[in-house]
Amino acid sequence: MNYTVINRHLHVGDIRLVAVASASLFLIGDADAIHLSSAFDTPPESLIIGPFVPLVPTRGEAP
């Protein structure tokens, strides 16, 4: 199978971004390969109400 990509004229006006964050990519150009990964963990138990003690994961459990 053959396929052809033709990149014609590309002119962009004004770009306004508030934020590019957490393994994101804003690219003006060409690329061969892009690998982006982001892990964000805020489980319910991450809101702790009670005495201030140092944080360590619960034994045998994924925190």
Binding site: M1, Y3, V12, G13, D14, L27, S38, V56, A62, P63
Partner: protein
Amino acid sequence: MKRTSVVQTFHAETLIISSVLQIGDSERISARTRAFAVQRQYELFFGPEGEQIFPVLTKPIPRWTSPSPVAARQTLHESPVISVQSVRVLAISSSAIVHIGSTSTAEAEARIKHIRQLAGSESSAPTRGRDL
């Protein structure tokens, strides 16, 4: 063959935490962030609190490998230029990449663990870290 990027005006306010602003072509860009964000109702610092044992910060993330292409691709750049009049960015953070120009490989990884700690209804001001 890659195209040329032309940007007339560029303005960025803040660039922090392993982020990259690349103007010009690049071959490979790799950015990594690990953040352990703890918000406490009172200022209390216990020093290291087990950052290395939270799976979200340590577990390997599987990497996708592209299969061999099933089609023969041909790319024709009828115009060798990508042009942008202006770019304004307020903030670039946590392994983000802003790239004007072409690249071969761009990779980024961000791992963030966020915990909020509030005082219980019966507990008042913190006692730890003060003279008792």
